[in-house]
């Protein structure tokens, strides 16, 4: 049984110190100990990043420290993903994922796309700060089964609403399922439908489940 809390503490220590190699080692050790990608992301990496945010809030680390911890994490995630990767059978389901136009926090969205990829979804990851018109154009072009929109802060919620409205206006009856996520939705799940979305989820693994349930497998 992998000692997740000990690995988690080691990972946090590594990214807090800005030690890239040590972070990579912890993630490698986690893999050796049998932690799957979802557990690595959600039980190891995500709590560590939340703690980094808290450390900055408490003025114990700087903005640069936080940026470094995030950058190291993105590299560590890519390595973990590579190790977990297998040429899974395509499900014939697709998703476009974007952060709202003012949102820079993209790690959660990346976790979602990686976990969906492993399940055989075809994902189009657009990352942070995606302009509304640009996302709509991408959705019109790709015609995905689902769209995932991420917002980390409550000021970004009105941008989520604008984005959802724009997608629905553009796509009409062919509108994909729209799932939204991020901290404000964790605390207030009913916000999702209030903003015009179809669903929300508590984390990337939960979102994979929700999407699996809600999106028809037959194309």
């Amino acid at each position: 049984m992998p000692n997740t809390s000990s690995l988690g503490a080691s990972y946090l220590g590594a990214i807090r110190d800005g030690d890239r190699r040590r972070a990579f080692k912890v993630v490698e050790d986690a893999h050796t100990a049998g932690l799957d990608l979802a557990a690595t992301y959600l039980d190891l990496i995500q709590p560590a990043l939340r703690e980094i945010g808290r450390l900055w809030q408490l003025n114990l680390i700087s903005v640069a420290d936080e940026h470094l911890a995030t950058a190291i994490t993105q590299a560590a995630m890519a390595r973990a993903y590579e190790r977990a990767f297998a040429w899974s059978t395509p499900l014939g389901r697709s998703l476009v994922a974007a952060c709202v136009d003012v949102e820079r926090h993209e790690v959660g969205l990346r976790m979602l796309c990686d976990l969906l990829d492993l399940e055989g979804w075809q994902t189009t990851y657009l990352g942070a700060t995606v302009p509304v018109t640009s996302l709509v154009a991408m959705v019109q072009r790709r015609r995905p089964d689902a769209v995932a929109i991420s917002a980390a802060l409550s000021p970004h919620l009105l941008r989520v609403r604008a984005m959802v409205t724009a997608i629905r206006e553009a796509m009409g009856d062919s509108c994909p399922l729209i799932i939204v996520g991020g901290r404000p939705f964790l605390e207030n799940p009913s916000l999702a439908t209030e903003l015009g979305a179809d669903a929300t989820a508590t984390n990337a693994a939960d979102a994979v489940r929700v999407l699996g349930d809600r999106v028809s497998p037959v194309r």
């Binding site: 809030q57 408490l58 003025n59 114990l60 802060l153 409550s154 000021p155 919620l157 009105l158 404000p184 605390e187 207030n188 916000l191 209030e194």
Partner: protein, 132 residues
């Protein structure tokens, strides 16, 4: 943004007048407590103005969506953040009180009522009788 409801109109006004309101709150805060200039220095005043703008950014969705709890979450986060940077809770309290006051002078009654609902929820979340 709903152009008809008090919440929607209030949020639209906050968006339009954010900078003017933040400047006014900062001015009033420093006028009534000149010692802030000494305690926090010139950079302090700049940061105060930025913080109040950021506070209005968080007030807007709480007002528009009729969810004071969104603003409460923010105020509690802000208070911890500022205390860690040696800004007293009572200064946060005062800036929120002045923000409500400034909103009352600029917005219609029902609009400023909508704003007050969130601001007061935020104030209620801070340690009682914050004179520390």
């Amino acid at each position: 943004m709903d152009a008809v409801t008090a919440e929607g109109r209030a949020a639209a006004r906050l968006i339009a007048e954010k900078d003017a309101m933040a400047s006014e709150v900062t001015r009033l805060l420093y006028e009534e407590s000149p010692e802030l200039a000494v305690r926090y220095g010139p950079i302090g005043r700049e940061r105060c103005l930025e913080d109040i703008r950021y506070t209005i950014d968080h007030l807007i969705p709480a007002v528009d969506l009729g969810r004071p709890a969104l603003f409460v979450t923010y105020v509690m986060w802000l208070d911890e953040l500022l205390r860690a940077r040696n800004v007293a809770t009572r200064d946060v309290v005062r800036s929120l009180e002045l923000l409500e006051q400034v909103a009352r002078t600029r917005l219609a009654t029902d609009e400023s009522d909508a704003v007050a609902a969130s601001i007061r929820a935020g104030l209620a979340s801070l340690p009682a009788g914050s004179s520390a």
